[in-house]
Amino acid sequence: MLSAKDLALDYRTGSSVAHAVDTVSLSVGRGSFVGLIGPSGSGKSSLMYLLSGLKRPSRGAVSFEEHDYASLSGAGLMRLRRRRFGFVFQQHFLVNYLSAFENVMVGAVERDHDTAAYAQALLHRVGLGDKLLKRPYQLSIGERQRVAVARALVHRPAVVFADEPTASLDQATGHEVVNLLADYRRSGGGSLLVVTHDPAMLSDADRVLQMRDGRLMAA
C-alpha cells in the first residue's frame, strides 16, 4: 500500500552533504504496524516525513496506493495527507482556544453529525469522555496527547504516522497512547508507522525496522 524505493534525503551544508536518509526501500502493507527505531539523528523522523509526503526526497520514489508522490503536486500531497493520513507528533499541537472535542474535529475532513459522534466516541475510547469541553490547558500532558491521537484518527486515515508520540510522556502513559493507536490498527482502521527510540513501545508491531545513519538495518 505504502512503499518506498531507494529513498534518499540529502542535506547540503556548504560543500558537504549529509545523508539523512540513504537509499531506503520498504513497504507498509494494509493494516500493518511497522515500528521504526533508532538513535537520535539516525534519520527515522526524516524517513517518516518522506513517507508521509511532508518532504520530497532527494532521490528515490514513494507511492501510496496508486499515487506516486513524484507525480503529485504540493496541493495533491496535502490532500493526501489531509484525507488518508493521520499524524501524531511528539508534541500535541492542540489549538489552545478550542475544547478537546473541537481539537479532535480539527482533524476531521467531513464535519457532519456522524463525524462528531465518532469524535466523541474516540474521546470516550481514549478515556476523555468526561472532558470533551476542556481546553488543552485544563488537561494533563498525557490527556493532551490522547486528544492528539483522537485527532489523528477522527477521519479514519489509511495510515497513521506517529513520530515519537511517547517521548514527552511517562512510560505508562506512553504505553496507553501506543495502545490506542494499536487498537485502531487492530480494529481494521489502517496501517500504523510508529517512530520511537523506545523498543518497548513496539511490542505489538508486526515489524520493527531499525535505522542507523540513514539506512535501514536488520532489527
Binding site: Y49, M78, R79, L80, R81, F89, Q90, Q91, E102, V106
Partner: protein, 582 residues
C-alpha cells in the same frame, strides 16, 4: 456541526486579544471622523455664513481707514493756539480796544471834518467785534478739535485692540487694559455724531469771524493811510500789530479741516455715480446703497466678521425675498432706528433673541457700533443681517466711511455684471467682493487646516498600521504551532492565508463599524449640545467622511497585517515547527 476553526470561535475565544485591537482601531476611526467632521463643519458654516454673496456683489471702498483726519485736526489745533495768542494780544491792552478808544477820543470837530476818521472808527469797532467773536469761537473750537482727535485716537486704539484679540483670542489682557484706560472716555464721547456737527459749525463760524477780523484790520490800515495822506497825522495813534499772517495760516488750516470733514460726509467720491451707473448694467436686478457693518462670530476654524447689510427698508424686504428668507420672529428694523434683524443661526451663535442687544458695546470685536436692538429673527436658507441705512449714515462719524453698494445680478448674469462693475469702478478706490472671491478665501483658509488634517490622518494610518500589524505578527507567532500543525496535517497554505485574512478582515471591519458607530453617536450628541446652539453646521451623516476618509485606516492595517503574516505563512515550514522542542 460547526467548523471548530470558524471565525466565530476565533473571535469569541480570543476576546482578550481581539478586543484591544478593535478598540484601538475604533478610537482612531472615531478621531478621524470627529476631526474630519469638524473641518467639514467649519467649511460648511463658513460657506453658510457668507452664503449671501452667492447672489450679490458687494462694492466696498478700498482701504477706507487710510482716510485719516489726524493731520488736518492737529494742524488746525496748532494754528488755533497761535491765533488765540494773537487775538488775545489784539483784544487786550494796547490792542484794538485801546485804538478804538483813542479814535473815539479824538475831538468831535476833527472827526466831523474827516470822514476817514469816521470810517476808521467804524472799522476799528468792527475789528473789535470780530476779535471778540473770534475769541469766543476759539475756545469751543479747540475743545471740539481735541475731542475729535481723541475720538480718532480712540478708534485707532480700538483697531489695535481688535488686531491683538484677533491674533490671540485667548488672551484677554489687551481687552482689560483697553477697557481700564478708555472706559471714562468712551462714556463721555460716544456716540460721536454730534461732535462732528458741532465741529463743522464751529469751524465755519471761526473761519467767518477770522475773515471779518482780517478785513476790519485791513480797512483800519487803509483808513490810517488815507488820514496820513490827507495831512492829518495820526501817528500818535498807536496802531495795534496786525495778526494778518497768523490768521491767513489759521484760515488755511481750517479750510483743510473743512475739506477733511467733508470727506467724512461724502466718504466715497464717485459712489453716487457708481450707484446710478450700476443700475443700468444689463442683467442687474437691484442696486442698493449699503452702509455695511459686521458682527463677530465663531466659525470653529476661528472668528469671522459676519456681514450686515445697511440698506433702506424696501431693500431689506427685497433682500429677504431674493434669498427665500422670511422674518420668523419680530420684524425688520425701522427707519432711522438702532435696530437689527439677523438670521436665527447668527442669533443662536450670539445667544440673542428679539429684544437683545448686539454691537460694539456688547462685544468689543463687533464692528457694528454702539448697541443695536435685535428686533427680528430671520429664517430661511441664507444667513442675513440687516440694519437701517439712514441710521448708519447719520449717527456715526467714522462708520460713514464704510459705505458701498450691493449689486444683485439676475440669474445667470453674475459674471457679466461683475465684469461691467469692474469696468465702471476702474481706478476708483473700490473693490468688488463676490462669491468666487469669498469662496476662494474660505477654501484657502480651510485648505491649510485640511492639509494638516490629511497629514495627521496619514500619520495615524501609518502608525496604526505599524502597531496593529506588529500586534498581528506577535499574535501570529503565538499561533505558530496551530498553523504548523494545520499545514502538516494537510490544510492548504492558501486556505490558511484565507483564514487569517478573514480573521483580520473581520477584526478591521468590526473596528470600522464600531468606530463609525461611536463617531455618529458622539457627533450627534455634540451637534445637539454645541453646534446647533452656536449656529454651526454639521452633517453627522456625511458619508464622504464616515466612509471614504476612515477606510484607509482599516484598509492599511489589513493590508500591512496580511502582507507580513501572509508572507510568513507562505514561507511556513511545518517540519521546523514539528521538530521544535519548546
Amino acid at each position: 456541526m460547526t467548523n471548530p476553526l470558524s471565525l466565530w470561535n476565533f473571535y469569541f475565544r480570543n476576546k482578550r486579544k481581539v478586543l484591544p485591537v478593535i478598540g484601538i482601531l475604533a478610537l482612531a476611526i472615531l478621531g478621524v471622523v470627529v476631526t474630519d467632521s469638524l473641518l467639514a463643519s467649519a467649511r460648511e458654516t463658513a460657506y453658510a455664513t457668507f452664503g449671501s454673496y452667492q447672489k450679490l456683489i458687494l462694492v466696498a471702498p478700498r482701504a477706507t481707514r487710510d482716510q485719516d483726519l489726524a493731520n488736518p485736526l492737529q494742524d488746525s489745533l496748532m494754528r488755533l493756539h497761535d491765533v488765540q495768542l494773537q487775538v488775545d494780544t489784539l483784544d487786550g491792552p494796547g490792542g484794538i480796544t485801546s485804538y478804538y478808544n483813542a479814535v473815539v477820543a479824538l475831538p468831535a470837530q476833527v472827526r466831523a471834518q474827516l470822514p476817514a476818521v469816521q470810517r476808521l472808527q467804524v472799522d476799528s469797532a468792527n475789528a473789535r467785534y470780530y476779535a471778540a467773536r473770534l475769541r469766543g469761537d476759539l475756545v469751543p473750537l479747540g475743545d471740539l478739535i481735541f475731542r475729535v482727535q481723541r475720538l480718532q485716537s480712540e478708534e485707532q486704539a480700538f483697531n489695535q485692540l481688535v488686531n491683538q484679540l484677533t491674533q490671540n483670542p485667548n488672551d484677554p489682557r489687551p481687552l482689560i487694559t483697553y477697557l481700564q484706560q478708555h472706559q471714562t472716555f468712551l462714556q463721555s464721547v460716544l456716540p460721536d455724531s454730534a461732535q462732528l456737527g458741532r465741529l463743522q459749525l464751529a469751524v465755519t463760524s471761526a473761519s467767518a469771524d477770522a475773515n471779518g477780523l482780517q478785513q476790519s484790520l485791513q480797512a483800519m490800515n487803509r483808513d490810517t493811510a488815507n488820514l496820513n495822506s490827507a495831512g492829518q497825522n495820526v501817528a500818535n495813534l498807536p496802531l495795534p500789530p496786525s495778526p494778518s499772517a497768523t490768521i491767513d495760516q489759521f484760515r488755511s488750516a481750517l479750510d483743510r479741516l473743512t475739506a477733511s470733514l467733508g470727506s467724512i460726509e461724502q466718504p466715497q467720491p464717485g459712489l453716487d455715480k457708481l450707484l446710478a451707473d450700476s443700475a443700468h448694467i444689463p442683467g442687474t436686478a437691484l442696486v442698493k446703497r449699503d452702509a455695511y457693518s459686521n458682527l463677530d462670530i465663531n466659525l470653529l476654524a476661528g472668528n469671522a466678521q459676519f456681514d450686515l447689510y445697511g440698506i433702506d427698508q424696501p431693500g431689506m424686504t427685497q433682500l429677504l425675498t431674493l434669498y427665500g428668507d422670511r422674518v420668523v420672529a419680530g420684524r425688520l428694523p425701522r427707519q432711522n432706528a438702532s435696530e437689527i434683524a439677523v438670521s436665527e443661526e447668527i442669533a443662536r451663535a450670539r445667544h440673542v433673541s428679539v429684544g437683545s442687544k448686539l454691537g460694539n458695546n456688547v462685544d468689543e470685536l463687533d464692528r457694528l457700533p454702539d448697541a443695536f436692538t435685535v428686533v427680528g429673527i430671520i429664517g430661511g436658507p441664507t444667513r442675513l443681517g440687516v440694519i437701517p441705512l439712514d441710521y448708519m449714515t447719520e449717527h456715526y462719524l467714522f462708520e460713514r466711511r464704510y459705505q458701498g453698494l450691493i449689486v444683485i445680478p439676475q440669474a445667470g448674469h453674475a459674471q457679466t455684471v461683475h465684469d461691467e462693475l469692474q469696468r465702471l469702478v476702474g481706478d476708483q478706490a473700490f473693490r468688488l467682493f463676490d462669491w468666487p472671491y469669498i469662496k476662494a478665501k474660505i477654501d484657502s483658509l480651510i485648505a491649510n487646516l485640511d492639509s494638516i488634517n490629511r497629514f495627521l490622518i496619514l500619520l495615524v494610518t501609518l502608525v496604526l498600521s505599524l502597531v496593529v500589524g506588529l500586534l498581528n505578527n506577535l499574535f501570529f507567532r503565538q499561533r505558530m504551532n496551530e498553523f504548523g500543525l494545520l499545514a502538516a496535517v494537510g490544510y492548504s497554505r492558501w486556505g490558511l492565508i484565507r483564514r487569517v485574512a478573514l480573521e483580520s478582515f473581520g477584526v478591521t471591519l468590526a473596528a470600522w463599524l464600531l468606530g463609525v458607530g461611536i463617531a455618529v453617536a458622539v457627533l450627534s450628541w455634540f451637534n445637539t449640545v454645541f453646534m446647533v446652539p452656536h449656529g454651526l453646521l454639521m452633517n453627522v451623516f456625511d458619508w464622504n467622511v464616515l466612509a471614504l476618509h476612515t477606510l484607509p485606516i482599516p484598509l492599511m492595517v489589513f493590508l500591512f497585517g496580511m502582507g507580513t503574516v501572509g508572507w510568513q505563512l507562505l514561507r511556513l515550514d511545518p517540519i521546523s515547527i514539528i521538530e521544535r522542542r519548546d
